[in-house]
Amino acid sequence: MRAVISVVGRDRVGILAMISNICAGANANVIEVTQSVLQEFFVMMMVIDISGMNCGLADLRRQLEENSMGMKIHVMHEDIFNSMHRI
């Protein structure tokens, strides 16, 4: 079971580290990361494996939002994307 974390905002030091730490704390394995920095803006998508997570997805979302460093962070279960974008 997987989830997607998306992060959008102004680039600064430590974003990737912050998110990875929280995921590690929740025992969520990071499977894939895509990121780009366009001028001063930072966009990142991270696919994580939540099957072994030691807390709920809502908890993870809350932790990320509390440490958001001014970024917009969304966490969504992969089922939404699977259901919406495939016939």
């Binding site: 998306s6 998508m45 997805l57 979302r61 969504m76 279960h77 939404i80 259901s83």
Partner: protein, 452 residues
């Protein structure tokens, strides 16, 4: 596989374009709560609703948290209460008060089904219930009521039509000091669907199973945003295609949420109702979609054609996305709940006559329309009869939800607040149909009903 573009698109739809699950509605059959003693019956009703729905709100909240999809409302629909009132006798208001208490205790914001099905004629319980509607909707907050007065198979019950004109007026009068809100909770139908999850017309039809979860999705903002990205010179075939594809995605979300709710609550999944249902929020308007298609203002010539295309494209896109599509499914045009419609009505571009034409090609009828406070009951009955005729002849659902603004005239405004919005008092043709309405009887079923 998951790709970045899809992910961003989904996030934008939810965060910026107001994509949401408008309602999860649990349909509960009360047929087994019927009893010759009205107090016993009410007790059974209360217990059954609590038993079935006690986890509804919690499950909705959990799904919202898990998936990050907003679920705006959790609601309940029940068997038309006239059926129980017919078995028990007594004052049907007792049922309304029981439904109100059950709704509050379970935590839902509306409970629909204070209803009667009288399309062929009145039976035991129907008249008592209908006559109690004004009081029931005044004394409760959460209860919604509906009456089905016609169908393609049975014709139109003109006695009921005459009666409902008076009931609408009375309901508005009794709540005149609360913006006539009673009338906003009453819908008069022709060809009412048994599984509609949207209020105020939701009820759990007698043909439905014991308990079921129905989902209403919505996303006019998403459709408009998708069209805004199209070129102004793209032809209508391509436009219809964009709407279809967008409706597919929206409905898939409803299917996902419905299946999850059904699994968590241990209740069968009924249907997804893929209706573009506007809210007063900025950007969440069906009228703006029509204007994006290329009309200067909703109500302009061309509106009916644009709406026909929109309604059809929504259905085509949605049908592939779900195992079971039902309810009303199409595009809604509730005037007070749609910021674009309110603006068009206020500037005179949108009239009741145009709205009547639009109801022939979309999924509801004359909905949430504020009319002058001195409109007579006969004229209201005439409007109901007209809508019913459109539904009956075209084998579709039509409905009327009019709010007579007691004490106000054309040009003034009623504000309900919240999802019900507010709107200007619209002009009504006051020539009297009183003689026709007084005739009563039944308009016979049309020849298209003989399709065996």
């Amino acid at each position: 596989m998951l790709n970045t573009k899809d992910i961003m698109e989904t996030i934008t739809m939810i965060q910026e374009e107001n994509l949401d699950i408008r309602t999860i509605t649990m349909g509960i059959s009360l047929l087994d709560c019927s009893d010759r003693d009205i107090d016993h019956s009410c007790e059974k009703v209360y217990k059954k609703i609590l038993r079935c729905a006690k986890n509804l709100v919690a499950a909705g909240d959990e799904i919202e948290q898990q998936y990050g999809i907003p679920i705006i409302n959790k609601r309940i629909s029940v068997t038309p209460i006239a059926i129980l009132a017919g078995a028990s006798g007594g004052d049907p208001i007792n049922y309304a008060l029981t439904l109100e208490k059950a709704a509050r205790d379970v935590g839902v914001n509306f409970i629909g089904g204070y209803s009667a099905l009288v399309h062929k004629g009145f039976s035991s319980g129907d008249l008592d219930l209908i006559e109690s509607i004004p009081r029931a909707l005044t004394e409760t907050e959460c209860v919604c009521s509906s009456v089905n007065i016609g169908s393609t198979k049975s014709g139109i019950n003109m006695d009921a039509v005459g009666l409902m004109g008076r009931v609408v007026r009375k309901t508005a009068e009794l709540t005149a000091n609360r913006q006539c809100i009673g009338a906003a909770k009453l819908v008069i139908f022709c060809n009412a669907p048994e599984d509609n999850p949207f209020m105020a017309g939701a009820f759990h039809g007698p043909g439905e199973p014991d308990c079921v979860i129905n989902v209403g999705v919505s996303g006019p903002g998403v459709v408009r945003a998708a069209l805004a990205k199209a070129g102004k010179d793209w032809d209508l075939t391509r436009i219809a295609d964009i709407i279809k594809k967008t409706a597919f995605k929206i409905t898939r979300m409803g299917q996902l949420v419905g299946s999850e709710a059904s699994a968590r609550l241990g209740v069968p999944f009924g249907i997804v109702d893929l209706s573009l249902a506007p809210t007063p929020a900025i950007g969440d308007s069906v009228a703006y979609i029509l204007e994006e298609i290329g009309l200067e203002s909703c109500g302009a010539c061309g509106t009916t054609a644009a709406l026909a295309m929109l309604n059809d494209a929504v259905k085509k896109g949605g049908v592939m996305a779900s195992s079971n599509v039902g309810g009303l499914s199409g595009a809604f045009i509730p005037v007070s709940e749609d910021a674009g419609m309110v603006a068009a009505a206020a500037n005179g571009s949108l009239t009741i006559e145009k709205l009547e034409a639009m109801t022939a090609v979309c999924s509801v009828g004359l909905d949430m329309i504020v009319i002058p406070g001195d409109t007579t009951a006969e004229v209201i009955s005439g409007i109901i009869a007209d809508e019913a005729a459109i539904g009956m002849i075209n084998s579709k659902t039509t409905a009327v939800r009019l709010i007579p603004a007691i004490g106000k005239k054309e040009g003034e405004v009623l504000e309900f607040g919240g999802l019900l919005g507010g709107g200007p008092v619209m002009k009504v043709n006051n020539s009297s149909p009183a003689v026709m309405i007084a005739r009563g009887g039944r308009i016979p079923a049309p020849i298209q009903s003989l399709n065996n």
